[in-house]
Point group: C2
Chain length 298, copies 2
């Protein structure tokens, strides 16, 4: 996919050609570089990119990081390159911090690997590192309706990394937990509020409730750039509602009668109270999270 303007990049983000909070942030940064090369109005480009999707805060963080370089295309390129390196490095460090939390069989949701991030992955980076250390037997991957990021992307990433993985429909997770076939849940995040509440792909909140019911740990892995201290709690995180057509369709097939509406919430909010630990590139945080988050992201 060739993107030749900030508008191209914004549309690619909106249409989910690129998705995953860290990858969205980096795409926006490269969108500014492209805009500068083509002599676009950078304030307009910044505005377009910032509005492309509402939930992930990495988008705003990446664009904020570049604003001081608008006057200098060389500096802008350098800033984008630096950001990309920092994002990937944070993921490698995060994986090292988090790997010792996991053992046995872990369940993940949506896509948090190389295809969604700076190149190494957030939750998936932790999983791959735990496997590399011989700690994991099995990864359960929720298919992640409606976009099937789990089935289409995470399953492929785990196969590339030679980590044993099995895909399940999202509603199978509860039964695997009841059968004692899950040891932990680990997910990524699109935005974490100052109190540790976080938005992530629809389905995450239910998994966190189910993990609690079954006495299983629930971990969230994210770079500090996903933490938004200006958002006090989950209720203040804007949750994107996407086109219901994305629920009405399975790939090319329309499965729903025309007369029946569908609802497509793209994200949900998981309260901090359901989180066992937060894995970041600055270490593993345990509850209560508020002060620890201020310390590492302030």
């Amino acid at each position: 996919v060739a993107l030749r303007s900030a508008a191209d990049v914004a549309e690619a983000i909106r249409a989910m050609v690129v998705r995953g909070a860290p990858a969205i942030g980096l795409s926006a940064a490269w969108g500014m570089v492209v805009a500068a090369r083509h002599g676009e109005d950078l304030a307009a480009a910044d505005f377009l990119l910032r509005q492309s999707r509402p939930t992930a805060v990495n988008l705003a963080h990446a664009l904020d990081a570049l604003q001081s370089c608008w006057g200098n295309p060389d500096a802008l390129l350098l800033a984008a390159e630096t950001l990309a390196r920092e994002v990937e490095r944070a993921e490698v460090v995060m994986a090292a911090h988090g790997a010792s939390l996991l053992r046995g069989r872990v369940l993940t949701h949506c896509n948090t690997g190389p295809l969604a991030t700076g190149g190494y992955g957030t939750a998936l980076g932790v999983i791959v590192e735990a496997h590399r250390r011989g700690r994991l037997q099995q990864v359960w991957v929720g298919e992640t309706r409606p976009y099937l990021q789990g089935a289409r992307l995470t399953a492929w990433e785990l196969a590339q990394a030679k980590v044993p993985a099995t895909v399940i429909t999202d509603s199978t997770a509860a039964t695997l937990m009841a059968q004692g076939r899950v040891d932990a849940v680990i997910v990524g995040a699109d935005r974490m509020a100052a109190n540790g509440d976080f938005a992530n792909k629809i389905g995450t909140y239910g998994l966190a409730v189910l993990a609690r019911h079954h006495g299983l740990p629930c971990y969230v892995a994210l770079p500090t750039s996903t933490i938004d201290l200006l958002t006090p709690d989950g209720a203040a995180i804007p949750i994107e509602e996407r086109d219901p057509e994305e629920v009405r369709c399975l790939g090319p097939c329309r499965v729903l009668p025309d007369s029946v509406p569908a609802l497509h919430l793209a994200f949900d909010v998981t309260p901090a109270a359901l989180v066992t630990a937060i894995v970041t590139e600055r270490g593993v945080l345990r509850p209560p999270f508020g002060e620890a988050l201020r310390r590492i992201a302030g």
Copy 2:
């Protein structure tokens, strides 16, 4: 679909051309009538039909009810016709008993309406009757991966019945509950054990846990023919594991890389402890369920 032998009917049940516990039972009964007409060995026909799917106990109940008529094709036809009438009548009565339990916005899963039953529906019959009485504002329909019975069948049935319905991905239920947009969960069952534990479509158990977490009632509607007093509890219910290809595919599209396995559990078991009330044609049962179930199904 024309079915001309017991083997045809058994294959239609196995391949889910017909599905839904009551509809499977009635199809097996008609399979015996077809077999008798064509002079098939009825013991072999009974065996084939009985083995077609493992979880729904209605299959065995329907075949048991016909066994005394094997020697008389006219009596066999009459027995099948009587069974069909009884099954539908039980559903109408069940709906009348259950309707007063529901109000506001209810969430259901899989398909329990005319397409899955004796013609009126189990959980969906209760929903339609509650709506007829002016008690319901909204029905949330889980799409029910992997077969999408909710999106493809229940949504159509509710549209036919002019009940306002909105389809959601299965993993959206938790968030709707957290947002206060669900007042009750109601589902059907494929088999209920003597203690009230029951098997139903994969995803039901998770909804029951989520309902409990959010302080919402969870109802199950089923005819007494779905109760199996010989199965002591949920652990003894055989759970069908179906072809993983059904998870790997979305209709005609293969979405999973070939190298990644999938798991397809067709049902799950919900413990009686998570059930608020059981709706049957013999009334509404409240916990503890054991003695009440023995009384109505003994």
